[in-house]
Amino acid sequence: MSTFTLEVVTPERKVYAEVVNMVIVKGTEGEMGILPNHVPLVSPLKIAPIIIKKDRSEEVLAVGGGFVEIRKDKVVILAESAERAADIDAARAQEAKKRAEKRLSGKSDEYDFRRAELALQRAMNRLNVKQGR
């Protein structure tokens, strides 16, 4: 099976760097399955899990926004946050979810609303990945 290198980079560190067979990401325009020799492309990402397929095994990473850069033999995902399922603190995500929900139900200006919405998305994303979707 042909392969390519996948790197997931956050401002703090390199979260993932391995040779994989396929990665599925959710771009702003829709879901994309990236196989080797994909056409070079840049696209922003949604707050959603990415699915990595490698030698018949699958791994899911919780990626919080950012974008993907695809080159011939290499795919780089730049995200503000990215965690493996094992690294996610479920209790904290649960807490964040509750907080965001509370803020959304209360009245607030547009900016706060948008922020709470994003926080909720991030929390849900983490919980989904943690619970194996």
Partner: protein, 286 residues
């Protein structure tokens, strides 16, 4: 003489205590410096990559227009000042704050011409003591700050520029050269101005469009630059503290040596005097 000796002894003791503390602080700063340097290095790939993609877009399409790239007439300037929470770091905070106050004095006539964002308790206290209004502040950052810790202040500074609250954004921080040298710098962050194309032309497809990608990327890029400046500031802080505390330890050692010498002299003088008195007494009895 005995009284003077006790006084000297007390001074030696006090210097020894100080030396212990400065020595410990030096070693703590040294180990934290290493970690801060690693963090600064770890943040680099992210920033480099974003810059690469941004310049890729800039070099591929001729008609890239974005408010963050364009220079406007400057009516109001914002400064993002990065200081530490704690002192005892030599000239670390003083240098940065002097840079800020000079810039404010030279470039602005009234307080309505600038906005200040500040990171670190020292900077906040200094500026608010001088009656300078602070738009937003972050204090109590950990020694290895996370991106999420500074995200808010970075985002609001960038947003202020986008919304036109100010027309320039400068960032003032200590640039890290090595453990002994840090220089305060005033760097223009926004507008980004001309982005140099890296020469390497990559034919990417942009989804949904180059403009949309820039819209997402440029604010992110600015935020990351702020983040790496904060990381560099942290490294500088520990470097400055390490050097300052190293000097303090050295000075304490020197003072202790000097005092010990005086102490021993005084002790010998006292002994000599005592012997002289005894001999004098014995002679008198003969």
């Amino acid at each position: 003489m005995a009284k003077g000796m006790r006084e000297i002894k007390r001074q030696i003791k006090s210097k020894q205590n100080t030396k212990q503390i400065t020595k410990a602080m030096e070693m703590v700063a040294a180990s934290k410096l290493r970690r801060a340097q690693e963090a600064a290095v770890a943040a680099r790939p992210y920033t480099d990559k974003i810059l690469e993609v941004v310049s890729g877009i800039a070099s591929s399409g001729g008609s890239v227009k974005h408010p963050m790239l364009q220079t406007r007439e400057v009516k109001r300037t914002a400064y993002l000042v990065i200081t530490s929470d704690r002192g005892l770091a030599g000239g670390y905070n003083v240098n940065v704050l002097r840079k800020v106050t000079t810039a404010l004095r030279e470039n602005h006539k009234s307080a309505s011409e600038y906005a200040i964002y500040v990171v670190g308790r020292k900077g906040r206290d200094f500026l608010s003591r001088r009656g300078i209004a602070i738009a937003e502040e972050v204090t109590g950052l950990s020694d290895s700050p996370k991106f999420s810790d500074i995200k808010q202040v970075a985002a609001s500074a960038v947003r202020g520029f986008e919304e036109g609250a100010f027309d320039e954004l400068y960032i003032v921080y200590n640039q890290f050269h090595n453990a002994i040298t840090q220089t305060p710098v005033l760097k223009k962050l926004l507008p980004l101005g001309e982005i140099k194309s890296t020469g390497e032309k990559a034919d990417y497809e942009y989804e949904p469009s180059p403009e949309e990608v820039l819209n997402v990327l440029l604010p992110k890029y600015a935020e990351t630059v702020i983040y790496s400046a904060i990381l560099e500031g942290k490294a500088s802080e520990f470097g400055a503290r390490m050097t300052a505390m190293g000097n303090a330890t050295k000075n304490a050692t020197k003072m202790i040596a000097g005092l010990t010498l005086t102490y021993n002299r005084a002790r010998q003088a006292a002994i000599t005097q005592e012997i002289a008195e005894i001999v004098g007494g014995a002679n008198a009895q003969q």
